[in-house]
Structure formats: structure tokens, C-alpha cells
């Protein structure tokens, strides 16, 4: 993720807190893509990711005046976005998991537009594992920071990361083997 200078970001937050729409717009420009990408990689639904990123910014606007501008803006936003993405993914799982073998959902369209086996493999992970993998490897937070963001024990974050990475690794190795056989 592109990281803007801390001083510049603090200036933007300060000006936005003072009512500057231009500063808010600049903060939005700096962080929307990261927020959208993080949301998408957790929910794998473009429309939902757009809503979640937008909701994240709305929540940030709502809480802007209480924001401690000595702290970086991005982790604060990412915490909101990833938690909302997790909420969405859990609700979606719930809706799909109608009891019994029958599903009342038609399968979603195959992700033809999604490039990369890794993204497809990520989609197969449980939402909780996806979230920690995205926070760790896309947004580059430490397990301790992720634990604070998701309100989880650090051990849970580590175990989710390990399980998620094991499954992604298995997928990657299977693909490598298959390519070697061809």
C-alpha cells in the first residue's frame, strides 16, 4: 500500500476536523483504493466491497472529531473496513447456510474477472482467516496490531494466519505440481 508522509496525513486530518471538505476529499483519495481492495479481498463481491469502503469512510467522517490525530489514519480506517467486511461475510455465510443439503442460493457467477489463482484460493478460506491474511500481507500489520483491530487474542490471530497460509500454500503447491505435469 502506498504510504503517505505522516506529517502530511496529520495535516489533512487536522484540516478535515476543522471542516475542510478538500482535506477530507484528499484523505478519501489517499485511502479509498486500499480500503476497497481490503474489503474486496475479504468479501469477494465488488458491490459489497464498494458499500463497505463507502460505509467505512462515512463512519470515519462520523467519528472524525474524536480522532486522535497523533495516530495514523489508515489503521483506524482499515479497522472499520475489515470489521465491516467480516460482518458482511458472516451474514452472507449465514444466509447461504440454510440447513440441510439444499441451498436456496444459486451459485454466484464464476470469478472470471478475477486474476490470479492466489485470489481465487483466498476466496476459499473462511472469512476470519481471509481477514487476518489481508491485514497481515496486504496491509502489513503485525499480529499484535491485528489482534487489537479485530478485538482478538494474539494467539487466535497467529493460528488463523497459520491455518490460512497453510491452505494457501497447499493450493500454490498443487498448482505448481499440476503445471509441472503438463
Amino acid at each position: 500500500m502506498p504510504v503517505e508522509s505522516g506529517a502530511e496525513e496529520r495535516r489533512l486530518v487536522r484540516e478535515a476536523q476543522s471542516g475542510s471538505g478538500a482535506a477530507m476529499s484528499e484523505l478519501y483519495s489517499l485511502h479509498w483504493r486500499g480500503a476497497y481492495r481490503a474489503a474486496y479481498l475479504v468479501v469477494h463481491d465488488a458491490a459489497a466491497a464498494e458499500d463497505i469502503a463507502q460505509d467505512g469512510f462515512i463512519a470515519a467522517v462520523d467519528a472524525l472529531d474524536r480522532f486522535d490525530r497523533r495516530r495514523p489514519f489508515a489503521p483506524w480506517l482499515h479497522r472499520i473496513v475489515v470489521n465491516r467486511a467480516l460482518d458482511w461475510a458472516r451474514r452472507e455465510t449465514l444466509r447461504r447456510r440454510v440447513d440441510g443439503a439444499e441451498s436456496v442460493f444459486e451459485p454466484l457467477p464464476p470469478p472470471e474477472e478475477i486474476g490470479g489463482e492466489m485470489i481465487a484460493a483466498l476466496k476459499e478460506l473462511p472469512a476470519e482467516q481471509r481477514a487476518v491474511v489481508v491485514l497481515r500481507h496486504l496491509l502489513e500489520y503485525t499480529p499484535g496490531e491485528i489482534a487489537a483491530m479485530l478485538d482478538l487474542p494474539r494467539g487466535t490471530v497467529n493460528s488463523r494466519l497459520r491455518r490460512g497460509l497453510d491452505r494457501l500454500r497447499a493450493t500454490a503447491e498443487t498448482q505448481t505440481t499440476a503445471e509441472g505435469v503438463r
Binding site: Q54, L64, D99, G100, E102, E106, I119, L165
Partner: protein, 417 residues
């Protein structure tokens, strides 16, 4: 696989994104930013209004002028009253009391919450969904395979465990029965938790291929006339009216394709069906005998071209339908609240940039609650004279822990006293 390779894949692999998504969000966020209440702002503010606020105000003023000065506007005038004179009302920072009174039932990320008239709120517990009993004395709540009846303070009265996941409980107008889904079955249970029985079995076969969500998950709807007539949608997308005591199918017809919601309108003389893009009314003929209803030819309600239906709601005791829609015009998203009266075209009660959400009538049918998730607000609009009110910071105001996770969903506004 190294971490670097995974990080690179996550960072660089193209993902689907709408070309306009960023700008769409920017406009909504700018509107929300412009709507921040002054009370919570920190530091000096410019004396000049920000551009988004100015644009929003001008758009609303233009719309209102158009509405009030046009011939049709004269009719609207009595409806809008002075709810919106030159812009949306200045948002109040918190929900100090429910305008018009009554209690709201909302679903939050933490569970259903009852909002009392004085604005206080109570989390009912860890339930996935809830609905009011007809007089607001109880709430039916579901969690996985459990259906429970609770008092509005969260005290459980009874619970049953079904064989499949429970959803969409709906209390009959008499309060004697609750219809609900267990898996794909439609079941009914007495209001005291006894006499649980199957009304209609699994009807998944024949679910249309293009249905993303089974029509079987459209909530069933009791006839408002106090009869035993229960309307529901089968998995094969048929609209059926059953006798809830005998299970006999009284009448049936094809449901609106991709139906998402339906309800009885006009005192039981019509059924309203809504999908993502359409809303239609279908007359229910009594054919000389109230127990022998017949479904007439449906009529689509006119909506703006390309409009997406956010929600529809039927006024209690009145022949009014309100529809919340969102549509695109020249690269901008707008939402409108349209009011339909019998035999007349739609009246636009409200138009705002961005996306509006659910609509809910007050128990006396004199007021409308409109959810505006993009601005994190609820709008309370009177249909007669009186001031409209906007309440800000809804996610936080409603979240039981004070930590908003998502904008709350409206489940009901109860009750007429």
C-alpha cells in the same frame, strides 16, 4: 510460498472494480461530511458553505421549488408541509426521543435492539432477526434453529428448537399465531409457543435459475383483516394464499420475478410485491365470499427508469404505498421517496444525492422514517404539516456497545396507542 509473494499477489492482482465506484463513494462521503452537525465539530469553520453542502442545499431547494410550484406540487405541498423548506433539516446529534412516539425495533450487528420512545435502547440478545407482535407486547426472535418469544426488555417467554434454521417470523394480526420458515418449510405456531405445525413443505424444486435468493425467503404476510389467510411465496416463485388453520391453498398466481418482499395493501384488497427493480399491486378479489379470495391482474407502479428499489412500505390504515428508490442520472446517484395513492401517479416526497435505504411508517400512519445510511441518518418525515427531523450518528446511537459495526436495519415501528 513466501510472504512477499503473497503480499505482492494481494497488492497487484487486478480485482473487479466499477469505473465510477471511487467517485460515487466520494460524492456520498462529501455529502455526509457536509452534513456533520456543528455541535461536534472541532476548530474554526469557514463562513462559506462547503461545496458539497452548497450543492446538496441547491439540489434540494430546486427540487422543492419544482415540487411546490408545479401543478402536481400543489398536491404534494400538503404532504410535505414545512418538513423541508430549503434543505434537509439540520441533523440533531443524537436520538433524544422517537419523533411521533412508539418503539422501534432495529437489527444491529450485535442483535436486535428496542429503541424506546425516550430514545433509550435495549439489546434483546444474540438473535439474527426479530419482529414485533401486533401490539408490541412481545418480540419474535430467531437464532439458528431457535424461535423465541421475548418481552420487549429481552426476557424470554418461550423458545422452540426447529429441525432447520429458522427465519422470517411474522405474528398474525390477532397475535394468536406466528408464521415462520424452518429451512424451506413454512410453519405456524401458536403465540404461546404451542401447536407448532407444518403448513407447507419444502418447495425448493423449481426455484428459478436466475434467483440469487430463494423466493421462499420472502417473509410471509398475514391478511390484515384478522382472517386466517396467509400469503407466502413458494420456492417455485408462486404467490399463494393459504388458510393457516387447514393448510388449504385458497388461491395462487406467479409471483413477481425475483421477488424480495410482499405485503397486503389497502386493507387486504391488494397485495404489494417488490423486487430489485419493480413494484406492483395485485388486487385480491373476494368473489362474493371472504374465504374464497382470487388474485387479479397485477399493475406495475411507475418508477424512474433504471431505478433500484431499496424498500417499499404500506401505510397502516391508509391506501398509501411508499417506495424508496435509487437511480443514476448523468454519472450521479440519486434517491427518492415516492408516495403512491390509489389512482394517482407517484409524488416525490424527498430527493437526495446518494443512496437512501429502508422506509417504515409510524404506527399511526402520519409519519415516515427513512433510513439514509450514506449520511448515517434517520429522517422522520411528517405527511401533514409539521417539521421533519433528521437524526445523525445513527450507527453509534443505536449500537448497544456504542461501537458501530453497520447501519442498523429497521424491523418495525410499534405500536398505535
Amino acid at each position: 510460498m513466501s510472504r512477499d509473494a503473497l503480499g505482492k499477489a494481494l497488492l497487484e492482482t487486478p480485482i473487479p472494480v466499477s469505473a465510477d465506484a471511487e467517485e460515487r463513494g466520494r460524492r456520498v462521503v462529501a455529502a455526509a461530511f457536509a452534513q456533520r452537525p456543528d455541535e461536534v465539530q472541532v476548530g474554526p469553520r469557514s463562513h462559506l458553505p462547503s461545496l458539497p453542502r452548497l450543492a446538496l442545499g441547491l439540489a434540494l431547494a430546486t427540487l422543492l421549488a419544482t415540487l411546490l410550484l408545479s401543478p402536481a406540487g400543489a398536491d404534494v405541498r400538503g404532504w410535505v408541509g414545512d418538513a423541508f423548506t430549503s434543505s434537509t433539516p439540520r441533523p440533531e446529534p443524537t436520538l433524544a426521543r422517537v419523533p411521533g412516539g412508539g418503539q422501534l425495533l432495529v437489527q444491529t450487528g450485535e442483535g436486535p435492539v428496542v429503541v424506546q420512545t425516550d430514545g433509550s435502547r435495549r439489546l434483546l440478545g444474540d438473535y439474527e432477526a426479530a419482529s414485533w407482535s401486533p401490539h408490541g407486547l412481545f418480540v419474535a426472535a430467531v437464532e439458528k434453529r431457535t424461535l423465541s418469544a421475548l418481552e420487549p426488555d429481552g426476557t424470554p417467554r418461550w423458545s422452540i428448537t426447529a429441525s432447520h434454521r429458522v427465519a422470517v417470523p411474522r405474528w398474525s394480526p390477532s397475535g394468536e399465531r406466528i408464521a415462520y420458515r424452518s429451512g424451506l418449510d413454512l410453519r405456524v405456531i401458536a403465540g404461546d409457543g404451542t401447536e407448532d405445525r407444518l403448513l407447507a413443505g419444502s418447495t425448493a424444486a423449481g426455484t428459478p435459475r436466475d434467483a440469487r435468493i430463494s423466493p421462499a425467503y420472502v417473509p410471509p404476510a398475514w391478511a390484515p383483516t384478522g382472517e386466517n389467510a396467509l400469503a407466502y411465496v413458494t420456492g417455485a416463485a408462486r404467490l399463494r394464499i393459504l388458510d393457516s388453520e387447514t393448510g388449504a391453498v385458497l388461491t395462487a398466481a406467479p409471483a413477481l420475478p425475483r421477488i424480495t418482499w410482499m405485503g397486503w395493501a389497502d386493507g387486504g384488497r391488494k397485495i404489494l410485491e417488490a423486487s430489485r427493480g419493480k413494484v406492483r399491486l395485485r388486487p385480491v378479489w373476494r368473489a362474493g365470499h371472504p374465504s374464497r379470495p382470487a388474485l387479479g391482474k397485477p399493475r406495475l407502479l411507475p418508477l424512474p427508469p433504471g431505478a433500484v428499489v431499496n424498500d417499499a412500505a404500506l401505510a397502516p390504515q391508509r391506501s398509501l404505498v411508499v417506495v424508496s428508490v435509487t437511480y443514476w442520472r448523468k454519472h450521479d446517484t440519486y434517491s427518492e421517496i415516492l408516495v403512491f395513492r390509489p389512482g394517482k401517479g407517484p409524488h416525490t416526497l424527498l430527493s437526495v444525492p446518494g443512496s437512501l435505504g429502508q422506509v417504515e411508517w409510524s404506527p399511526d400512519g402520519k409519519r415516515l422514517l427513512v433510513a439514509w445510511p450514506g449520511a448515517n441518518q434517520w429522517l422522520f418525515l411528517p405527511l401533514g404539516h409539521g417539521r421533519g427531523r433528521a437524526i445523525a450518528n445513527i450507527s453509534r446511537a443505536i449500537a448497544p456497545s456504542g461501537r458501530p459495526t453497520s447501519f442498523p436495519e429497521l424491523e418495525g415501528w410499534c405500536c398505535r396507542r
